[in-house]
Symmetry: C2
Subunit: 304 residues, 2 copies
């Protein structure tokens, strides 16, 4: 039974991923593209989508539902859709997008917002929805989503209770590639013991890290260690600082890290150092599970 | 008596400043140029200097001493000169630079280095020498030199005992101009009460700041305060973090801030919030005083 019933789209800032699914929720076709939100001019989103899914539209007799999440719903995206305020169920609200084409019925998942302290997410809410679907709606625990702006979220009874974003990934990129440290940081210079030591230093004395950063440059100038493991040290300092600040999330909770990349493994390792055993879940699998849950809710709502 | 006896040069990364002085140490002529070290190709330093001081060389019958400090002595500069290890007197060592021209005798001041924790400075040591000259050699206290890489130094008996660099200025620039916060930070949006509150937040909970940064962006998205005083807040967070880490320098010491810019005044204000009354000294005046002290030592050494 390979009849396409709907299309799931994860449309982020720099990339997108598309799946065609049948009535049983099985993947019939899939595609990936580098045409992330940031690369598409205003007014070109529909054309871009239709070109990518054209082969999947053949033989369709009515509009095909397309459920999309991510930065496609931001002000600079296809159409700005609202943020739902926490506490709430993630990805439970969708906004319809007006299209020229009659072949698709496009819905974009709302992001989440928090008033105090102010915070927002777009895209991660769908991965969290996937986690909640995966774990069962009574799940209580914490989701950690490493990336450019790492998100931590407290979850209970199918809802996101509160969350916080950390600029750790962006800070790493800025320091390693755009600051004076660029001469001293070599991404392939990874040493686990250096990373561990840096995480512990940041957790023990978070206020000291800002003073240790220039040391990464100075060490290569004064000849100590010639910057041994500098990438691991910078990463350890920044992830350790984040853990110091995110203590309330991980201290007495089950933590699920959504992400299977090297970065996610560094978070897992850092958490292990502080006695927290976190498990890794695949980002793409969680996104797809979240989009499936959104589609199920959409079907009920629109009585398809 | 306006006969030029020597030339003082502050040759930094992005700018340079030159003074022609007579035997009484009075300024006879001065000049400034945007031809900082970073803008000059290897092999072009001598030509650049000679063009700038050409009018001052007229009528000189023997080589004119030129004492220079700053990044001109770095690996990417005119000629790499060593770092002297602390504890030591700042700017007391000079290296002679070989020149094609017989009209000048160029000397570059050594930087300072510290082995543990690793740290370096080039240029600030001459400003500190000026401060020590200004305060008298028995001075005990702390020098704070705000800038791209702010330096704190403990001084006693005419020596730099130890020092530490903070990347605060560079972090501010990266976050305000190159990160996602660039949409939310407006440099002209300064509010003193916001700055004060941010400094205190960083001092009270240094580990929390990394989690507050994204809030500067999120506030403008969720509509709270529309980012009121965001530049002051970012600056306050980063200076507060630095003060948290630099506590051993300012807690029970006299602090001299070398710098009269807006940034130096922000440091002065932040220090006042923690009960430390710091006074401001002009950077250029301290640099020139340091170069004068270096020239006096050079005269004794070379028996001029």
């Amino acid at each position: 039974m390979n009849q396409i019933e709907w299309i799931a789209v994860d449309w982020g800032t720099s990339r997108m991923r598309l799946w065609a699914l049948n009535a049983q929720g099985e993947i019939v076709e899939s595609a990936a593209s580098e045409l992330g939100m940031a690369k598409i001019a205003q007014g070109q989103f529909e054309t871009t989508l239709l070109q990518l899914i054209e082969p999947w539209l053949t033989g369709q007799t009515k509009p095909l539902p397309v459920i999309a999440c991510g930065m496609v719903g931001a002000r600079q995206g296809w159409q700005e859709v609202p943020y739902e305020a926490v506490p709430c169920s993630p990805s439970s609200q969708l906004s319809n997008v007006k299209t020229e084409s009659q072949q698709v019925n496009v819905q974009i998942c709302w992001g989440l917002k928090q008033q105090v302290p102010a915070d927002v997410m777009r895209g991660e809410e769908t991965q969290i929805a996937g986690l909640l679907h995966h774990q069962g709606s009574s799940y209580e625990g914490v989701a950690c989503l490493p990336g450019t702006h790492c998100k931590w979220a407290n979850l209970a009874a199918g809802q996101v209770i509160e969350f916080q974003s950390y600029m750790t990934g962006e800070l790493y990129e800025l320091l390693a590639k755009n600051s004076v440290l660029r001469f001293s940081i070599h991404d392939d210079d990874w040493h686990t013991e250096v990373f561990d030591k840096a995480v512990r230093a940041a957790l023990d004395e978070p206020g000291s890290i800002t003073g240790r950063l220039f040391g990464l440059r100075a060490e290569s100038l004064v000849g100590n260690s010639a910057g041994y493991g500098s990438a691991a040290r910078l990463s350890g300092y920044l992830i350790g600082l984040e853990l110091a600040s995110a203590r309330r999330f991980w201290e007495s909770n089950k933590v699920s890290i959504i992400g299977a990349s090297g970065l996610a493994k560094h978070y897992q390792r850092a958490l292990k150092l502080v006695g927290c055993s976190a498990h890794l879940l695949d980002t793409e699998a969680m996104t797809l599970a979240g989009l499936k849950a959104a589609y199920e809710a959409y079907k009920v709502e629109s009585d398809v």
